[in-house]
Symmetry: C2
Subunit: 243 residues, 2 copies
DNA sequence: CGACAGTTTGAACAATCTCAAGCCGCGTGG
DNA sequence: CCACGCGGCTTGAGATTGTTCAAACTGTCG
């Protein structure tokens, strides 16, 4: 409980080395924190490196940690007992995981690429929220945004046709890439067709057919299997909404 | 901000000490507030009474208010330009609306019964959050719970069959009624078949057929069109998960 | 009692799924 | 350097679930 980070000191950034140098910070909930706040959070965090395919959260397990993604991408999903899977979301640099108010993890999480995470002990993190109102506010905003995204996805899953779903997915990824300062037009898909399918409530076959169809119609161009050019973005946008 | 500059609203009714006597408080985000905190919040609130069918939030409009439901039930939904509708959720006593971090309303909201609301000017509410950390914490918890519910619904919409969806819906309503201290077994449906359909990503016809089917199989009993007895709750529970 | 809105039932249809086979790209090893 | 094999992707044909369109029913309210 002692150390240079205790008092508000503009020069204490030096103690928060890991955080201070973090490339993910501009995209993370820790973005609005001042130097000493960052230092306090830094003390709670552990950096993890995971291999692609590693499952680091198991739905139903007691919620012991929460995470911030520093580098790489991951997916979160829910399973039914018979193996049906719904992918809830894809996570990228700056995304936060483990907002559950209470109770066990409500989703599982798996690395899609090699993945770097900040891990926090959940209890300590919650306690820190009391002392770091800026962090709490950022977390609330973030959670509200996620809720909004989830609701948009409910519309997609409940009411959109297959090609509308795929168009929405592509544009969503594109916008997200732009926000992270990555290429918004030839977009890169870090996930396979079956992940896309389980995200959109379809089968791999249907996803594949729709890609082919959109390519045939000149709305997209595929470079290999994981790079997509959005020719005619406007047409894709109206497709999202049912045109 | 609720002074003479406001547009005239025939349903709007200012209150003096509404909070102290509020029956919805144990179920609301204001539950954890102390006396003086409650008083501060009270100063920001206006009580509204709406008739069934009244739309009080329009998706896309600037977010000027947030609301707490004091009595009655409502639905929130999103529309596609061609009229397809996805009901995002049904709201009951104690539910809070308008958590959006920023931007315009992301859903529309309509009263299903006669409805009593606490309304807050959004800017003032956000400012109050800074002074009322207990409220902010409650709001964060509430938002996280809603996010979890939305994700569960994504699983339903993306991966469950029609009878699984209906079974999940009935049990969800039942659990919710229990939490509010209402009857969990003969459950009351305040919404019509087409609302249920738009919530579950089905058509009214399919919902109706599934009700009939479940009745025939002895899993439920219908009393009129809006009262359902859950005979064989266990069977319904395993149906939810795909049995 | 009659009208109307909401619900139920029926039959044909369509979107998507399932099952099955073929293809492509890529890494490995000869 | 090329053939091989493997996993993931694509394509095809038929089955299925839920939708669509249409009509009959119910019960609620003037």
């Amino acid at each position: 409980m002692s150390g240079p980070g205790m008092a508000p000191d503009p020069h204490c950034m030096a103690t928060a080395e890991a955080c201070a140098a973090c490339e993910a910070r501009p995209f993370s909930i820790c973005a609005p924190l001042s130097g000493h706040e960052l230092a306090e959070l830094d003390r709670l965090s552990t950096t993890l490196h995971l291999k692609p395919g590693a499952t680091f959260i198991h739905e139903g397990d007691p919620t012991e940690h929460c995470f911030n993604i520093t580098q790489g991408s991951a997916k979160i999903y829910k399973l039914l007992p018979d193996g049906r899977r719904q992918i809830i979301g894809f996570l990228f640099t700056g995304d936060f995981l483990g907002t559950t108010a209470t109770g066990p993890y409500s989703v599982s999480a798996e690395a899609m690429t090699s993945l770097t995470l900040c891990r926090f002990e959940r209890r300590a993190f919650k306690e820190a929220l009391v002392r770091l109102p800026n962090l709490e506010r950022a977390l609330l905003d973030r959670t509200a945004d996620e809720l909004e995204a989830a609701r948009e996805q409910m519309l997609l899953l409940g009411r959109k046709a297959a090609r509308e779903r795929v168009a929405s997915f592509l544009l969503g990824l594109s916008r997200r890439a732009a926000r992270l300062g990555r290429s918004a037009d030839p977009i890169h898909l870090p996930m396979g067709r079956s992940d896309i399918a389980d995200y959109l409530g379809l089968t791999t076959e249907t996803v594949s057919r729709v890609f082919t169809q959109l390519r045939t119609e000149g709305l997209i161009r595929l470079n290999g299997t994981s790079e997509v050019h959005l020719l005619r973005r406007t047409a894709l946008e109206s497709l999202c909404e049912g045109a």
